[in-house]
């Protein structure tokens, strides 16, 4: 290809990639926000404002003291300036009734409009009948739909802070049981200062009749979001859970450090899907969310199953490895991932499959798409324990490059301590070719539709794992994230 044409094509790629971030608006709402700064007092204040029981405050304080002894992990393939943890506010809550809204009528209409604008109407009548929503705005849950209906089946779906009061025994039993506060730097920080999140409990033998979803929104400036999600599926239970995230466009970076813990008992199944669209920063890498998240599932029971499906298009930096500990015999773990990076975004994401039980199997399908000057890394660990007879893993990592200034990296780690294991690893790297684009254009498609179609084809294996309502949103998002990227 001649140089001028190549330059032209790259320019077109850039143009497709520079789309507007549609969720970048700010909601003007009165909020109670802590002054920036982190100390033992901050931790006590968060716990006090939530009226938490003593055991939880103690746990937070242990986490905080442990965090003080830790250093920021440096092993990921991402670069960013040192975060000043004293310049962040650790709590921000829109002003509302002391006990929180009892029904949607009491929710500030400005908040309802915010979610409406994001395409997440909270009015139960306006919702698709099959989805229940918990809406987390900065540090608190502001609305939670279909709770009563779900409660008829004994299903608990509520803000974490409410579960602490209503079901302390479950919190005590499960909190930190999959991701202990000692796990890593960000998990320790989250354990100390987490403010809200979602709690789900599906009782024995119950199939949750609708999709449960949490929509996370960061609004306040200079505020970190530290949510905590805990999902427990008791014996023979099933739940599908969706998570969406957005934030306003701001010039400064904002920290998001969440922890998600999933527990699947005997024959239970949890399907967890994420569409992460945090503000990625501008073209030159100014602003954007630092997304340092610890997600882990324990397949505790025999024949239990957990699937993580993630579509990661946002954040300036993504550091995230949704993992599965396959303890129960015959348990199954799946990880399906699409990570898109554009402009100056950096993503280091992947999974860990820890096989402990017999006949456990895991599947990893990771699709990375890099454009602009971004860096996109897959990092995955497959560990087969000494007692994990006949464990199987199949891994596929595919990278798609757009333009010649981005990077795609693969860091697979495989540790096998049992000789009966069967492990497969496939990896590929490709580029959207000029031939493919011309072919689509010659059939009447414009560049953006062509890129979106080719990328969606590349991601098909992962896309079809998403629940229907989410798949459409994810498809559009893929197109938008790469708008301006190819010619």
């Amino acid at each position: 290809m001649p140089e001028t044409e190549q330059a032209q094509e790259l320019q077109q790629i850039d143009d497709v990639l520079d789309s507007d971030y549609k969720a970048g608006f700010v909601t003007d709402i009165e909020a109670d926000t802590f002054l920036p700064g982190l100390s033992e007092q901050t931790v006590r204040d968060i716990s006090r404002i939530k009226g938490e029981p003593e055991f939880l405050l103690e746990w937070r304080l242990k986490a905080y003291r442990h965090w003080l002894t830790l250093e920021t992990p440096k092993w990921a393939h991402v670069h960013y300036p040192e975060i000043d943890y004293q310049s962040i506010s650790y709590y921000s809550s829109p002003k509302q009734n002391k006990d929180g809204p009892k029904s949607l009528d009491e929710v500030d209409p400005e908040l309802l409009r915010t979610y409406e604008k994001l395409g997440v109407p909270l009015d139960e009548r306006a919702r698709l009948a099959g989805v229940a929503v918990d809406a987390v705005f900065d540090s608190v849950s502001v609305a939670n739909t279909f709770q009563d209906k779900l409660a008829e089946d004994g299903i608990l779906f509520m803000p974490f802070s409410k579960a602490v009061h209503q079901h302390p025994e479950l919190i005590k039993k499960y909190l930190g049981s999959v991701v202990p506060y000692r796990d890593n730097f960000y998990a320790a920080l989250n354990s100390a200062v987490f403010s809200d999140g979602s709690f789900v409990y599906i009782p024995k033998g119950t199939r949750c009749p609708m999709e449960l979803s949490t929509y996370f929104r960061i609004n306040a400036a200079n505020t970190g979001q530290f949510e905590r999600t805990l999902i427990i599926a008791d014996d023979d239970a099933y739940v599908s859970y969706l998570e969406g995230c957005t934030a306003p466009m701001r010039d400064e970076n904002q920290l998001h450090a969440a922890v998600v813990e999933l527990v699947a008992h005997d024959r239970a199944e949890i399907k967890y899907s994420t569409v992460q669209n945090w503000y990625p920063g501008d073209k030159n890498g100014v602003g954007g969310i630092f997304n340092f998240v610890t997600k882990r599932a324990a397949c505790r029971g025999e024949s239990s199953k957990v699937s993580w499906t993630q579509v990661e298009t946002g954040s300036a930096i993504t550091w995230k490895y949704p993992s599965i500990i396959l303890q129960g015999d015959n348990s199954v773990g799946e990880f399906y991932s699409i990570a898109v990076t554009n402009n100056m975004q950096q993503a280091d994401t992947g999974t860990k499959m820890i096989h402990l039980g017999k006949n456990t199997s895991s599947t990893i399908i990771a699709k990375g798409i890099s454009a602009g000057r971004s860096q996109n890394s897959y990092r995955g660990l497959v560990r087969i324990g000494a007692n994990a007879e006949n464990a199987r893993n199949h891994t596929e990592c595919d990278s798609l490059l757009m333009g010649d200034q981005c990077g795609a990296h693969t860091f697979p780690y495989i540790e096998v301590k049992n000789p009966t294991a069967q492990i497969e690893h496939e990896a590929s790297t490709s580029k959207i070719s000029e031939d493919q684009l011309f072919y689509c254009k010659q059939r009447g498609l414009d560049v953006e539709d062509a890129v979106s179609m080719i990328v969606n084809g590349f991601c098909k294996q992962v896309m079809r794992q998403l629940p229907m309502e989410f798949a459409v949103e994810a498809q559009n998002l893929l197109g938008l994230s790469l708008e301006g990227s190819v010619g």
């Binding site: 001649p2 032209q8 254009k441 010659q442 414009d446 539709d449």
Partner: protein, 248 residues
Amino acid sequence: MLEIKNLHASIDGKEILRGINLTVNAGEVHAIMGPNGSGKSTLSNVIAGRDGYEITQGTVTYKGENLLQLKAEERAQRGVFLAFQYPVEIPGVSNIYLLKAALNAVRKYQGLDDLDAIDFLTLVRSKLELVKMDEEFLHRGVNEGFSGGEKKRNEILQMALLEPSLAILDETDSGLDIDALKTVSDGVNALRSSDRSIVMITHYQRLLDYIVPDFVHVLSEGQIVKTGGKELALELEAKGYSWVNKNA
């Protein structure tokens, strides 16, 4: 339909087309023959609007419009269709998805609404018969793992669906066995009509036994050096391309 005047085009500063003159009226079938390197594929790429070619002189007019100032997709939407010599694979994108997107892009330009799923399927099924393809084809990835013959039939399927005004068939016969060549030719012949023009680019006379052209042009070193009726192709076959060059 198509009028090319004194067209000069180069790639990387190297002149490939050196003054092409060609007029194609509605309903006509033209064959452009020539040895390797004569500029056949460049000509089809320039008409279809592929990037990377520099037009240094001349004009290309299509239905009274200056074709050269339109983007490739705009030309396609206006009814210019190129059947590719090497149709590219697009993994994971189902054939039916591309067909639908292509048809709706053309319809949008024509001010028509998208076809709904049922009407679309009915339409595609009727076109499948034309190229003797199974419905199963629709759900495979675009050209993914297709044999050479399947790829070429898929191109004709797209042509049948999009109903272009001007179809350029770039070496549609290459890599086909006799049976496949016959199927593809039958498909093209069925698409001949008084309001559609077809330009066939080919190296061999063989294709012209199946799709009989109104005119045959011989391209050599970037120029059309000889024009005649269908019998010109036979003469070429017998005497070789060197015969034309000598006579040019």
